[in-house]
């Protein structure tokens, strides 16, 4: 065991940068991943998430900064000197080798005794729920996508790495299989105590599986946090928009709330925009007269008849544009006074027995509690 103390994080990036030619692939990346954590790198294609993973794996060398694994700088180490294993997006199974030989590959390179290899390969296949008796001798070309995925996973896990890297591992699977594998990967992470670092562009997948995630955009990290922090407190418009759905509103900070809106302990600001005025909670980025942008999730909004707004809530007059039936929820699209469209997600309580009392063209009030909106930075 290399000298590392328990309190050191599994992975640490300190100001890591990498450019290809004149285009930066990642800029000034700094983040840490705790031991045993399931950590996702999430972002649109070209945001630098795969480069980040490849830097960590050792297939790329950083131009600046330091990458540490369990407290040790690994910038100059070859991939096989880092005690980690990777599952490739395309799985990268060796087509000329049987499943058994694919999984055994790493152990054979490490010159383990034949008996140990056989036992560990068998155990790894069982771990990913592939019956060794059925699959050991098959070639990758004789497997389904999901089975190949499991072989790739077994090939990585058989080495008992301290960190497992997953590059869009579920991208090629159909929806049902993807959901199954999400649960299984998460279970393996808990069962083995191995740190998982997972790259994906699927925000739902990242929210469902991760302990924490980093949202990346344009070669930088936009925000790091738990799924709840990212979803409920997005710091920038990009994060709010990329993760889930969001309505955006802009205005100027007109002053401190007074009268009814100031009830309770809430300190904050009154924001005045061309769609109306609303109150937002206090935020360091707001100054008197400054521009303010907020995000509100569709499910945090409610609809009221004109003149029926509950006390203490924000309300903007609007007109119903249409209703979209999604099953679990119904999305109501409304137009504000300034022409901006907002989406309100209402819980479906049964359209056949208790239909929504709204029709196209109705006047309404879009309402939300001041603390349910997120003030965005920049």
């Amino acid at each position: 065991m290399p000298a590392s103390t328990p309190e050191q994080p599994a992975v640490e990036f300190r100001g890591v940068a990498k450019r290809y030619g004149s285009t930066p692939a990642v800029r000034d990346l700094s983040f840490t991943v705790g031991r045993g954590e399931f950590f996702s790198l999430l972002g649109p294609s070209g945001c630098g998430k795969t480069t980040t993973l490849r830097l960590l794996a050792g297939f790329e060398t950083p131009d600046a900064g330091e990458i540490r694994l369990f407290g040790e700088a690994v910038n100059r180490r070859r991939p096989y000197e880092r005690d980690l294993a990777m599952v490739f997006q395309s799985y990268a199974l060796f087509p000329h080798l049987s499943v058994e030989r694919n999984v055994a590959f790493g152990l054979e390179q490490r010159k383990r005794p034949a008996r140990e290899i056989r036992d560990r390969v068998r155990a790894a296949l069982e771990l990913v729920r592939l019956d060794p008796g059925t699959f050991a001798t098959r070639r990758p070309s004789e497997l389904s996508g999901g089975q190949r995925q499991r072989v790739a996973l077994a090939r990585a896990l058989v080495l008992e790495p301290r960190v497992l890297l997953l590059d869009e591992p579920l991208g090629a699977l159909d929806l049902k299989l993807r959901k199954e594998m999400q649960v299984e990967l998460k279970a393996l992470n808990l069962q083995l105590g191995v740190t998982f670092i997972h790259v994906t562009h699927d925000q739902e997948e990242a929210l469902a599986m991760s302990d924490r995630l980093a949202v990346m955009n344009q070669a930088e990290i936009a925000q790091v946090g738990t799924p709840a922090e990212i979803y409920e407190n997005p710091r920038t418009a990009f994060v709010a928009d990329f993760i889930g759905e969001a309505n955006f509103l802009e205005g100027k900070a007109a002053g401190r709330p007074g009268g009814e809106a100031a009830r309770g302990s809430l300190e904050g600001w009154v924001i005045t925009g061309d769609a109306g005025s609303f109150v937002v909670p206090p935020h360091w980025a707001i100054s008197e007269g400054g521009d303010v942008r907020i995000a509100v999730r569709p499910e945090w909004l409610d609809l009221w008849r004109p003149g029926c707004l509950p006390r203490g809530e924000n309300g903007l007059p609007a007109t119903i544009q249409d209703l979209v039936y999604l099953g679990e929820t119904i999305h109501v699209r409304v137009t504000l006074a300034n022409g901006r469209v907002m989406i309100i997600a209402l819980r479906n309580e049964g359209q056949l027995i208790k239909p929504l009392p709204w029709n196209r063209g109705d006047s309404c009030i879009v309402a939300w509690r001041p603390e349910d909106c997120q003030v965005l930075e920049g």
Binding site: F59, R78, L93, F94, H96, F105, T137, R138
Partner: protein, 297 residues
């Protein structure tokens, strides 16, 4: 006749196979199979007094081919073809690897690789003579540099024949190997490295097995034509470096012994057939191995 074909098409609208194969098949029948049959018949007939054959049946020509003189030529032919294949492989593999990994410039390199074919092989072989002869470029350069006093004997040696054969055959090795390397997924190499394979191990365990079909195809494309070559050994090897191709050519030319030429040609053909079956069998066995193991589960 034409109406017959049309009627046949009308009756078999879903079997265009015969139509697709028809023209090529007829061509091969007329200009390949028929001459070979004639050759076979000639090879077992007695020699005519002034060329040609006489009626009768004899295996004398095949027996004559077993003479140590001719077997020696056959041995040299196989040896030179083998060396040529090996040299081509050693030269072509790294070249093909470089081309396959050279990004957008690879089309240029591929054109350069086949560029020698834009001139006739005869011209190219004469160019080799200008390089290799006593007063040729190589000897002149070495003497001017003071490295040698007398010209080296380069032309009319086994080495000269080998150089000529390799020159002509190299692209036939580069192209199939290039195709197989180009198909190789770079992620496989990264996967191997991630699993602990150093560069030599990545080559022997991943790259080589996956490009072996290209190597087999290239080897066949080089070895077989080398066996039958006669222009290169004739011009660069002279009388002492005779290959089987020269022997056959002689029998149909100056020696006027058509039956013996036919017998020699058939012997070479049998040899090629055995070599090809060997390669195919190797590949076939490998495939069978993979699938039968898989199905056995």
């Amino acid at each position: 006749m034409r109406r017959g074909i049309l009627r046949w098409i009308a009756r078999h609208p879903r079997s265009p196979g015969a139509l697709l194969l028809g023209p090529g098949g007829l061509w091969l029948l007329a200009f390949f199979l028929l001459p070979i049959l004639i050759l076979l018949v000639y090879s077992v007939m007695p020699r005519g007094a002034y060329g040609g054959v006489q009626p009768g049946f004899t295996l004398e020509h095949y027996r004559r081919f077993l003479d140590p003189l001719y077997l020696g030529i056959l041995r040299r032919t196989i040896w030179l073809s083998f060396l040529c294949t090996l040299a081509c492989l050693l030269l072509a593999y790294p070249t093909a690897f470089y081309i396959a990994r050279s990004g957008p410039r690879r089309n240029l390199f591929l054109v350069l690789a086949v560029l020698p074919f834009w001139t006739s092989s005869l011209v190219r072989t004469y160019a080799m003579i200008f390089l290799l002869r006593d007063s040729g470029l190589i000897n002149r350069a070495l003497m001017d540099a003071g490295l040698i006093q007398l010209p080296l004997r380069l032309l009319y040696t086994e080495g000269a024949v080998l150089a000529g054969l390799v020159y002509g055959a190299l692209p036939f090795m580069i192209l199939p190997i290039y195709a197989s390397i180009e198909k190789l997924d770079p992620a496989l190499l990264e996967a191997a490295e991630g699993l602990g394979a150093r560069s030599w191990s990545r080559f022997t365990r991943v790259v080589w097995p996956l490009t072996a079909p290209g190597v087999a195809a290239g080897s066949l494309l080089v070895f077989v034509p080398s066996l039958g070559s006669f222009v290169v050994p004739d011009l660069l090897g002279g009388a002492r470096q005779m290959m089987i191709g020269n022997l056959i050519q002689n029998q149909f030319g100056p020696s006027r012994n058509w039956p013996f030429g036919s017998a020699a040609a058939f012997a070479v053909m049998a040899l090629v057939l055995v070599a090809m079956l060997g390669v195919l069998r190797m590949k076939g066995l490998d495939d069978e191995h993979g699938t039968s193991k898989g199905r056995g589960a």
